[in-house]
Symmetry: D2
Subunit: 484 residues, 4 copies
């Protein structure tokens, strides 16, 4: 089949019927009719439609080596710099369509899966079958344009160890409770399955934290399954959708990606979907040796740039319409965003310019600038929102809704709410956009999301520092200077 389109995406999600709980009730109808999901699903559908548009198709797909069908370009394992460049073009096209607002636009997990499969050989250590499972799963997803999400993190409670009456220890950490001829039986819970229920399948991969690597750790496994297996339950947080009006709620009406608590209550995972079973080392290596954090950081940086540029555009317009672009304090704040945009774009360029082939034959972008971006963005993103607040001030609060621009109130609003360079209705639209981004529940959830996207600050910092390639070179320069 190859690349799918928007309506295929919608149909598949609606047919899947996972067990989803929303505010204490099980959702019975189609997700695409539900006010908490329909906006996001429509947006996601337009992304899939883009792949099929004449303008974009060449830049967004490539020919499957096994079927000859066009398949999504974010599934492409880059073999040379040209591939890296093509991938960036594709990811930027989607990124600029959703303005970086979708952390789980499909290219993210397509890229992750591509990284994992590039290192499938690793799994042969346990058994060739596992490696085959992974290769097959990758091809299945690529050929069917499967929409994939993932869960890594477990709730805090899973880290608490309790002493039981019989002297044993127990935790609520996810674990393999049984195995049979059909597969593993898994029990446990995972946090923050973002877009879990507006995707087709879920990749489940709890990180290994111990130093003493075991080969038969029941808490260690990697698998991918459809969303509706018996025993899987999805519990939603509050919806951040303000309403359907794209004037009033320009972002949440389109980009609100639901996060869910995913429960596995004795779920049977079929063997052909199991990639790691108990082997701590392999679970770790699948992350580190596959270049997962480098390949996905490439996608993420494209998204960061689209989002930052969008914010810069918003702020520049606010400054124009408020006519305050000559104040040094305002220029300084705009420049913080300009500096950030120029920095991210340059880091992307450098990552691609300095790409080198890894042992799997992937042309791997340079992780040093990419992981630099991962350290920067969680700090700058909240600051950009703060700048919107500092520049927008009361203008962000006093925003009537689309329905207020009616014959009764229009005469007043037209006079009193007009901007320097635009009429009242356009100005209010701009400021409602700025409000949603910086100050609404939708904005707050995005802020949290960006702060912790690639782990907390310690994890992201450790990744950059320990992986940094140039330490010896700079140390040597100082030693030479000192004559040592």
């Amino acid at each position: 089949m190859g690349i799918k389109n928007g309506s295929q995406y919608m149909q598949q999600i609606d047919q899947s019927k996972p067990e989803v709980w929303f505010h204490g009730e099980k959702i019975m109808g189609s997700l695409s009719n539900h006010k908490a999901f329909r906006g996001l699903m429509c947006t996601q559908a337009t992304l899939y439609d883009m792949q099929n548009e004449l303008d974009y198709k060449d830049r967004m797909s490539y020919i499957s080596p096994i079927t000859g069908n066009p398949v999504g370009l974010s599934f492409l394992q880059p073999k040379n710099k040209e591939d890296v460049y093509k991938r960036r073009v594709m990811m930027s096209l989607w990124g600029e369509r959703h303005h970086g607002m979708m952390g789980r636009s499909p290219d993210y997990m397509n890229t992750g899966l591509m990284a994992f499969q590039s290192a499938a050989d690793l799994l042969s250590e346990d058994s060739p079958e596992r490696a085959n499972n992974l290769m097959s799963y990758y091809e299945y997803c690529r050929e069917n344009d499967v929409t994939l999400s993932h869960v890594f993190v477990q709730p805090q409670a899973s880290r608490v160890v309790q002493l039981m009456d019989d002297g044993s220890f127990d935790t609520s950490a996810a674990r393999i409770v049984d195995k049979n001829k059909d597969g593993l039986i898994v029990n446990g819970a995972f946090l923050l399955a973002t877009q879990g229920i507006t995707a087709d399948e879920i990749w489940v991969h709890p990180p290994v934290y111990t130093q003493l690597l075991e080969k038969n750790n029941p808490n260690t496994f990697v698998f991918a399954v459809p969303n509706h297996l018996p025993g899987m339950k999805w519990i939603c947080r509050d919806s951040m959708v303000g309403g359907d009006s794209t004037y009033d709620y320009p972002l949440s009406s389109r980009f609100e990606e639901m996060d869910t608590l995913l429960i596995f209550d004795h779920v049977l995972v079929p063997w052909d979907r199991v990639f790691v079973d108990g082997n701590d080392y392999l679970s770790q290596q699948l992350f580190s040796a596959s270049g997962f954090h480098t390949h996905t950081a490439h996608q993420v940086l494209c998204r960061y740039i689209a989002k930052s540029e969008f914010i810069l555009g918003i702020v520049l317009q606010m400054v124009d319409t408020l006519d305050i672009g000559y104040y040094p304090q305002v220029i300084e704040k705009i420049n913080e965003i300009i500096v950030h945009v120029e920095t991210l774009k340059s880091l992307l360029l450098a990552a691609e310019h300095n790409a080198v082939a890894d042992r799997w034959g992937s042309m791997l972008p340079d992780r040093n600038p990419l992981w630099t971006a991962n350290v920067i963005f969680p700090k700058i993103y909240p600051r950009m929102l703060e700048i919107i607040q500092l520049i927008g001030a009361s203008g962000l609060i006093m925003t009537p809704s689309e329905m207020d621009f009616n014959p009764d109130l229009n005469p007043y609003l037209d006079i009193y709410l007009k901007g320097n360079d635009r009429d009242a209705k356009d100005k209010v639209q701009l400021f409602r956009l700025a409000w949603e981004l910086s100050s609404s529940g939708f904005g707050g959830r995005q802020q949290l999301y960006e702060r912790f996207f690639f782990g907390d600050a310690n994890a992201v910092n450790r990744r950059l520092y320990q992986g940094y390639d140039h330490k010896d070179q700079y140390i040597k320069r100082v030693n030479d200077f000192m004559g040592l």
Copy 2:
């Protein structure tokens, strides 16, 4: 009558029937039944009830010099340090009841009006009648426990000057368009009448920005009127109330103070409610010479402290329930809040300790520490919210609602969402509170509100710097050191 109670407050608001627009529709029923207002009105009612409770009455009221009735203590003009101390006790009682979440709890404008009337003599310069108007209005409010709000700021458009066809200049700035025997006719719009429609009356006082002070400036006036005069229209922003459940929406279900755009469409303001008519100097002096920004800063600092202590309590509990209180990075963040709380409390103490009598006989708290607090708080408040996000992380996002704790889901939630020191339902309640404060639309609006409460950063900074009393002393010390 003296101090009123909660049901009197509710009745009066409901009887007033101002013209209020909400999402394009005129509100026809009682405000106290409307989901956007009922929660806040209930909370405000409990504040008024407190005044009548045996436990509090002595600390919250004093005997009216003209009627012998108990009247609200925040109306008291302080004549000595004991009065200053009493005022603080009263304001802290209310502040700790609403945890600083209400920027327009009634003591704020009671205090402001007290400051204005203390300097009523100023107005005699124009005419003794104006001074009398102000004194009478103050007594009217005090004796009837009138709930007052205010508007100062006009929309950005009011600052744009347009050249007309006939060569004259025009703006949409609010102005006196006519006068007759009954009063002034006023036209214009004002921003951010916070709680304007859940108060009885509104104080209207556009600041004078020009250096060339005129005596007959049509843009200059000060008056106070009931909310329902013909021609007054109130246009609401979106409501930030998440819902009625105090478990799910602990703050917005109680403390959401609506902001409105207030239109005066040829409104007749009766002469006995006019305090300034055209005289720029008097309008300015009513702010500066009355000690308005000092007396209200005293109230505001009590509120800041209650709010900061509440946030500290939340963060301390989050840290306990996540069991992370031994990490240096966490301690450092908690300490930022502790430092802030200790600083604010010390500044309040210093302001009272160094109070001196002004020319109106008011014992005026020391403005230096008070205005210091006004410079600090708008910077620290957003940081405290950031700290909540940094500590709460994904725990702030993955919060089921009250209704999810049902027999179907309870068994899972109880296991997977419990905290270090509390069960799942209590932990989720804490994190929902932290979410609303730090990341919701309610929280975003409060963040903007606190950033700009006493003016933008430049205004608040200029006030402190220009009013700072100790400059000469410190300059002299350096000159002495240099032998100059």
Copy 3:
């Protein structure tokens, strides 16, 4: 004898003849003639002279209970709030004389010793003799106005544990290597004996870091000795004195307190000077239970205030002479310092206002605001220096020296270097002062000193957080709000 005067101070130091090394050479002559020490010693002498001046004597001394002589007020154990207030007046008088530039002005260790002796009873646990030693030593110092310094910290190398050939472990940590009838024999090194050689004696007190408290730990001891015992060697760092001209080097010519590496090479410490011998618990308690960090923090806060006010005076003058006090960016920077000054003064007031008696009968200032100041100052002090740089800019660099104001160059300097409100020579003097404070080696050493005065950031933060008294109160408030 009681309070001494400046010349007595100088004589005693010069007669003491410790073994001091400076740039590879042993100092043979008098310290008071040495360019690295004479300026500081003169300044210290003026402090002692102040105690004898009619204007100050009453505020700086009290009558010794055992001799009837006037003794230094910083030796006074405060028994009531009046005593606390008197101590603050005394400490501020000295602080304002040296503008907070002297971290080891004598009141610091006088206060520390007073705190230790207040808890001398603690030491009776080991033996009454130890308690007596401490009481006697305190009285000896008070009655003779002994100038005391201290060492706590050992070099990094002392923390490295080495495995020896014979299987034992060894470190270079300071330790008791032997004991005999005359005393302990101690070997080891200590860092940063600030003013060690311009004081008479040194208090030696290595902190205990282990959790497992021993009673006979050879690395644990507390004693005080004169500076010239055989085997004591003092190794100086570079001197930061720029020169003798107080015009050119207004600070370093007066306030440069030398830091030394202090070596104990098998030094015999007489028994009557030993306060703790091997008992980890007592060594710890002498710090914590005596209120050492609270009493000294009171002194330190007086010093912080004097220093911050001095900096504020400098910056206010720079702004005046550059005529830039109307720019918002400049006002904002000045206000950072004003905010800091007002905060510190308020914290001091609060600490005294909330003082309570401890179990030794000392009226102990409230540690919460004091330790808050200790967390704040190391962050704000470097920022104040940065503000000086940002405001002074090239004016800080282009400062001719006193000798450049000669007939050849005067005609040019008078024209080209004059300021808005002062002539060239005075302006240059101000900017040289600002330079030394913010940008010179003297300034750099002070910056490091203030950053780490009371320990590194983690230690200072932990002290505040763990000792914070109001946690339960604020937690309860939130629980009440949530109905828990």
Copy 4:
């Protein structure tokens, strides 16, 4: 002649005999013998020597189009990207030799002069002769490898306007006081002629601040002259050289570039050295239209990178020798520097990658990333020094000198001052380097220099914001999103 070598450089400076004042005395002997200048001059000589070394010559010179001699590569006007790349290689070679410590390494002004001459045609508007003067001067400098410095800024006093007795206004601003057949007579003073007296010539170019551009403004001129013309007087600030020992003073013994106040007392500037005479517009254009701030920013960014990499090397070594590289707080601080290094390198790459030809045929690097670097560096540089202080702590203070490592003290220092991975003498050497960079007078002057290198924060910010090329693109993206 073409590229010169180190001894030629030294000879020429020593023969020039300008009138230099140092601490009130006229310097009579050779500068290269003077302790304040000899170190820097030696370093500068090694730079010139490099040009002649076999290893470097090809990368550091090109063949003069008029003489066939090799001339300095930083004089090369880049015509294509290859030239841009060559220039960067050359500038990085010098930058990495002086580790970015020399703001006036010769490539800086070589580049500036190249930029000016590229736009010489501009000057034909006034007269072809002026354009010729500039072309000839450029060729003269290139062919003779002239060492050039510049002055732009005048003392604050020059901006004060005084009303004279006769009703006229006067200032001390530099001006043309007369003209005769030989040239202009100029009177005035300029600040911060960095390396003015260790260069051969000086470029004098007061910026035009007025909006009303005149053609005959006596305060407007551009010229270049040798340092020893009659009437030129150079007044030095204090020297920051700590001493000659490269162990004790590794930076100031090599890199201390003296700043001077340069007086023109009725100096005759010969006509052939005059490039602009009174024309405000041309003076401005010579800066803006020539790409001066872009070409030099390219050189400056090479220097920034060398300096930041050097600092990173120092910090990495400090962390190793202190064995603290596993603490999250330490990793976070190191990462701030890594992030900064990666950012600068990426910005450089982007500037070159996006270079385009300008109207003078120069291949101009992209100003957007370059000016971004100029906004960043003045903020990060002080932070890097702060990080050195925070990591080095007392280790930065307690550093004996080279002479302390003598037989008397060695036995102690070897034990007590050794590091985790190096012996005491090497560790102290590293920390003395860190001290000089972060905390000494040399370091303080460099900090000020970097803060204001390309103007104050407002100027640098305005340059980036107003010159930013992508504003319309990002604004359009938001308008498209809003359907406007």
